[in-house]
Structures are given as structure tokens and as C-alpha cells.
């Protein structure tokens, strides 16, 4: 589904991704874990086309994404819920959702909004309020729902559990699993490594801009190095 090969990227003069290669299979959950500053966010940004790459190539659904505009990538079925939530603070919750369906028809948009309200009833309660007035966790729910509005084939989630209550984390992870079961491919960047690895079909560990380990979710979960460095055991 997604193939990243030899990717490098930099901020100014500092290169933060060095020769990164990953392959994500269709219908899988791919978990990406790593310490603060490892470059996970940068990688997701590069895949979405909002971060320039200096070398390497990204292939999505057998098509090269090099030189493809970010907005086109969304139309191709790639969607991201970014780090730090990035809601449109001054617009209402519902408008935020509908903007998520920018590339979709009105009917799709209506359906998506209903689905979002079903998954997170609080969003329905707050639908007319500016997104900026929501609590941190509520904004996170909005960001995730908004990313789903474009009915993507592949969803990039950057720390979806951040700021969510334990109950909601369960719920979000369940939702991610059921989305996968319906054929969606998910790239999951998570600090909640245990949980992420436990639902991941494939996973990798990133350290200072490089992929240092790859394997199935359960294999990594069992890896002593991972247990020490990322699971805090």
C-alpha cells in the first residue's frame, strides 16, 4: 500500500530523517514508536506532503508521490490526524468536520458527520461551539474524526491517544481495529507503545531519524530492548 524508500528530510540545515525505508501492507495497522525527537512526526509529514524530502521516494497505491501536491494526496486516499491536533479553533466543531470532507460530496460529508457523532457523542453535544473552546481531549477526538471525514484508504495518526482519558483510549484503539477490519490501512505513531504494539500487525522503532527495528507488533513487544527503552520495564 505504502512504500517509503531511502527517505531523507531536513529542517534548514539539520537533517532529521536519514535513509528511512518502511513498507506498509494494505489493511494492516503499522505502529511507529520511538523517543521524543526521533523523527516520527517528520516522517508522517513527509508522507502527507507537507514536509520537503531531500532524497528517497514514497510510493502509495503503486503511484509515486514525489512531486504530488499535499491536496492531491488527500484525494488519492491519504489522510492524517496531525500532532498537536491542529483544529480550526475559530470554526465550529461541525464546520471542522465538514472541512475534513473537503474532497468529498455533500452526502459523504453528512454520513461522515453522523459517524463522528456516533463515535464521540460529546462532539455532537458541542457541534455548534468553536473548536478552540474544547478541552484537550475533546479536540483530539475532533482531530481524529476530522481525518476520517475524507474516507481515506490510509490513515496516518500522530499520537492519537495524547490527552485522552484511559476509557477513551480504549475506545479509540477499538475503533482503529474495527476500521482496519473494514479494510483501512493505518499508520499509528504512538507513545503508548504497549497498546500500539498490541494491536499492530507490523511495527518499527525509530531512533534519531533512522529505523532501527522492524517486525510484527507482538515480536517487538517481546524484544527486550524495546521493553527496556520504550515500555519502561
Amino acid at each position: 500500500m505504502l512504500d517509503v524508500a531511502g527517505l531523507s528530510s531536513r529542517y534548514g540545515r539539520v537533517e532529521v530523517l536519514h535513509d528511512v525505508s518502511i513498507t506498509v501492507s494494505r489493511g494492516h495497522i503499522f505502529a511507529l514508536i520511538g523517543a521524543n525527537g526521533a523523527g516520527k512526526t517528520t516522517l508522517l509529514r513527509a508522507i502527507s506532503g507537507v514536509q520537503p524530502v531531500t532524497a528517497g521516494r514514497i510510493t502509495f497505491k503503486e503511484r509515486s508521490l514525489n512531486g504530488v501536491k499535499a491536496s492531491t494526496r488527500v484525494k488519492m486516499g491519504l489522510s492524517q490526524s496531525p500532532e498537536g491536533r491542529q483544529v480550526f479553533a475559530g470554526l465550529s466543531v461541525e464546520d471542522n468536520l465538514r472541512l475534513g470532507a473537503w474532497t468529498r460530496s455533500k452526502a459523504d460529508s453528512d454520513r461522515g458527520v453522523q459517524a463522528a457523532y456516533q463515535m464521540f457523542p460529546i462532539l455532537h453535544e458541542k457541534k455548534g461551539l468553536p473548536a478552540g473552546s474544547l478541552s484537550g481531549g475533546q479536540q483530539q477526538m475532533l482531530a481524529i474524526s476530522r481525518a476520517l471525514m475524507s474516507q481515506p484508504d490510509m490513515l496516518l495518526l500522530d499520537e492519537p491517544s495524547m490527552g485522552l482519558s484511559p476509557l477513551l483510549i480504549d475506545q479509540v484503539f477499538e475503533a482503529v481495529c474495527s476500521l482496519r477490519d473494514r479494510g483501512l490501512t493505518v499508520v499509528l505513531v504512538e507513545q503508548n507503545a504497549n497498546l500500539a504494539l498490541s494491536i499492530a500487525d507490523q511495527a518499527c522503532v525509530m531512533e534519531t531519524g533512522r529505523i532501527v527495528l522492524t517486525g510484527s507488533g507482538s515480536a517487538l513487544q517481546a524484544d527486550p530492548r524495546v521493553r527496556e527503552l520504550y515500555l519502561g520495564e
Binding site: 521524543n36 495524547m162 504497549n194 519502561g232
Partner: protein, 261 residues
């Protein structure tokens, strides 16, 4: 132990939404006091009220016995209250060490005039501030970032930067809003050590956090909010057994985490 912070039945509403209603808490000096609750329970709002960002529509707040209701946050900082933010409020155009130095601002005594002409007093003070700030960065584990622009630091580091900055004010009480958000379990352990050290140095800590392992291990007392109201308060073991807390907040996963803590 005397009480450091007394919140007496405060309430606030935003255009009809009661974000916090009739909440009272009392935090003992030197304690680690946690506030937990589902998303939108009113935890951050409570912090905003205590730290003077919002003025409560009802109720009063006492800090170390003194009534501080409605006081501006800079005045509260001078009373020994400091905080970090859930939505990062880092000074992005400054370096890490400068961020922390701003925290020293209220302790800097030199007059504007002396600063304008760079008189020795001001110069000396500047140097001391810088040294102290570097120490604090070391303390939170950001020593290597000192001269980096904040804009180029990863999320997790920024959270710690806010912590160092808050500590620079030499607070007697510190409010931490999700300090471990964006940290993996290993990093969370670091945060825990840090919080313990802070509490150990006599600073009262009020903590909002969704990481149940951290909360259960570190808290002397835990206060649980839901929908702006208190649902219970108690020690870690009391809280994690409370059915309402489990239903509204912990869920299965949370309960397991809490139990394993």
C-alpha cells in the same frame, strides 16, 4: 500538615456550559495532589481558575491561607504559584535557556534604568539568571538543548522546558497539566522521577494527568472530576476501586494500568 491551597466551592460557566461547578479541594503543603477525570471534566479549567487565567463566578481560593480569589496570574506567581500548560505556551522565538530565564524575571531586582545603561548590577544579575537557568535545564534533562531555539525542539522536550521555566520562578506550589503527555512509558518514568524530586524539595505539586500508572504511583491524594463536578476524592487505592470512577473514566484498560502501578 498545613494546607497550601484551598479551593472553596468554585464554579464557572462558559455561555451556559458549566465547566466547573461547586468544586472544593484542599491541598496539603508538600503533597502531590492529582486531579483526574474524563475529557472535558473541567481539570484544565480548574487550573486556569486557580492560576488566575479565569476569574471564578462563584467561590473563593486561598493560597497558603491568603485569599487570592480574582488575583491576576502574575501576582499569584509572586505568591509562589507556578504552572505549565496543556496546550504548550512556549516562547517559540527564544532559545531554551532564555525561556527559562523569563521565569527568573520576577526575582530580578535591578531597576530599568540600570538595565538601560548596562550597569554592573544588571550585568551581574543577568549572569546569575543565566547560570541558574542552565542548571534548571540540566535538572529536567534538557542540558543539551540550552542554546537551541525552542521552535526546533520536539514536543516532548517542550513539555519539559515548560517545567523548567515554571521551576525558575521558585514556586511553593506548581500546577502541572499533563506533563507526561507525548511521552512513552520509559520517558514517563523520567517525568515521575522529576516530579518526585520537585515534591521532595518541598514544592507542593498539583497534577493533571491521564497516565494512570504515573498518577497512582505518585499521588498522595487524588481528586476525580466529571462534568465539572467532584465525584470522589481519596488515595490511589480508594479511587481505583470507586465504581463511578471506573465507569466514567478508567474503563478496563485504565483499571488494569492503575492496578499494575
Amino acid at each position: 500538615m498545613s494546607s497550601m491551597l484551598d479551593v472553596l466551592s468554585i464554579s464557572i460557566a462558559f455561555g451556559g456550559v458549566k465547566a466547573v461547578s461547586d468544586v472544593s479541594i484542599s491541598v496539603a503543603a508538600g503533597a502531590v495532589f492529582s486531579i483526574i477525570g474524563p475529557n472535558g471534566a473541567g481539570k484544565t479549567t480548574l487550573f486556569n481558575i486557580i492560576s488566575g487565567v479565569y476569574i471564578p463566578q462563584d467561590g473563593s481560593i486561598r493560597l497558603n491561607g491568603k485569599d487570592v480569589t480574582g488575583m491576576r496570574s502574575d501576582a499569584l506567581a509572586r505568591e509562589g504559584l507556578s504552572r505549565t500548560f496543556q496546550n504548550l505556551q512556549v516562547f517559540m522565538q527564544m532559545t531554551a535557556v532564555e525561556n527559562v530565564m523569563v521565569g527568573r524575571h520576577m526575582h530580578e531586582r535591578s531597576r530599568t534604568i540600570s538595565q538601560l545603561f548596562s550597569l554592573p548590577g544588571a550585568v551581574r544579575e543577568n549572569r546569575t539568571s543565566r547560570e541558574r537557568s542552565r542548571e534548571l535545564l540540566e535538572f529536567v534533562g534538557l542540558g543539551s538543548y540550552a542554546d537551541r531555539s525552542a521552535a526546533a525542539m520536539p514536543y516532548g522536550a517542550l513539555k519539559k522546558l515548560e517545567l523548567a521555566r515554571a521551576l525558575a520562578t521558585e514556586p511553593r506550589m506548581i500546577l502541572l497539566d499533563e506533563p507526561a503527555a507525548g511521552c512513552n512509558p520509559a520517558e514517563t518514568v523520567e517525568v515521575e522521577k522529576l516530579v518526585r524530586k520537585i515534591a521532595g524539595s518541598g514544592v507542593t505539586v498539583v497534577l493533571v494527568e491521564h497516565d494512570m500508572k504515573l498518577v497512582m504511583r505518585i499521588s498522595d491524594r487524588i481528586h476525580v472530576l466529571d462534568g465539572g463536578r467532584t465525584i470522589c476524592e481519596g488515595t490511589a487505592s480508594e479511587v481505583q476501586r470507586n465504581e463511578r470512577v471506573i465507569a466514567a473514566y478508567l474503563g478496563d484498560h485504565g483499571r488494569r494500568e492503575a492496578a499494575n502501578a
